[in-house]
Subunit: 216 residues, 2 copies
Amino acid sequence: MGKVWFQLSVSLDGYSAGPNQSVENPIGVDGMKLFAWQFALEAWHRMSGLEGGEVNASTPVFEEAMSSYGAVVMGRNMFGGGRGPWSEDPPWTGWWGDEPSYHTPVYVLTHHARDPVPMKGGTTFFFVTDGIESAVAQAKQAAGDGNVLIGGGPSVVQQALAAGLVDEFELHVAPVLLGRGERLLEGVGTPEVEQIRVVEAPGVTHLKYRVVGRPE
Amino acid sequence: MGKVWFQLSVSLDGYSAGPNQSVENPIGVDGMKLFAWQFALEAWHRMSGLEGGEVNASTPVFEEAMSSYGAVVMGRNMFGGGRGPWSEDPPWTGWWGDEPSYHTPVYVLTHHARDPVPMKGGTTFFFVTDGIESAVAQAKQAAGDGNVLIGGGPSVVQQALAAGLVDEFELHVAPVLLGRGERLLEGVGTPEVEQIRVVEAPGVTHLKYRVVGRPE
């Protein structure tokens, strides 16, 4: 069996997005600072069809995050297309172009039903309206022996953690204080965790934990 | 010139103390979990007059924190003795016995004036009633070329960070979620920092940062 995990960048003061999120600023004001370590990587440049970038201690961490899953769960905000019922003209198919880099089934948690959207390269977006447990269960079945990645954003990660559905998680701790925004580890209860891996890299530390128990 | 720094344990969700702090539970409910890494150390046992304990990657980090300062600043709550005017009968002289392990001047931030209290072994407690800038300035003068350690608790650390008085800090990130309590990095603005050292150790990661700038 695979594991259910998430990986997300957080500020030193615990935010995964800045304040005032909008279409122009999807991660909020200064939220992009959390991802500076990622945008510097050659692996990220390559994935985005760009030249250049660095190879450093973050490279294997990033490559693992981008590849080690057989299915993905994400929230409606991360998938995009605005709030409320889905527009049909034109239909929103995500931020990732005709051939998203997921190459797996992706389960989008939403309040609004919609037929599956198959994309080039093996990605199919499924829309789940009956909650996080159902989304993770469907993703597990699709992933088979592979892992399920909770892609984000913070709200979906919180729902999965609070529901006891997460086996492992990795925090990319950026040397940034945002002061305000959307906290990551809030409202998730007090799961018992153990530290399983630390990677020091330029401008970020990658901290990986296993969830070993939950209080009654 | 020395530097002004602090080091403090924090939970994964950013708390430096649990909820419901009291005389019996000075770090709040479950707050002691943040210090499990420290209590396991041979260096901590020795400092406390006990046998046993481990030597591991946290040992030099702990020994540095316990020794590399020429003066200390702490809050009234950390010094103890209750709130309000000082009781004279018996006079409160801290939690640390006749010979505290500081062996330096210690500046206690308080609203209530009091004459200095010299202890055995070189520790003298001075009581500062005109704010964090004054306390740090007095400590710097006393420390000479040595460092000033902001000992805690969280409130004094926050005051020092918000006032731009901190040069470096180290967070001991414990694999614990508290869910509630006293947050460390809250109300401190958005100082610019850079990551300068990461130490992976059993049951904790030590993250050290330098403050390199402050927004206007």
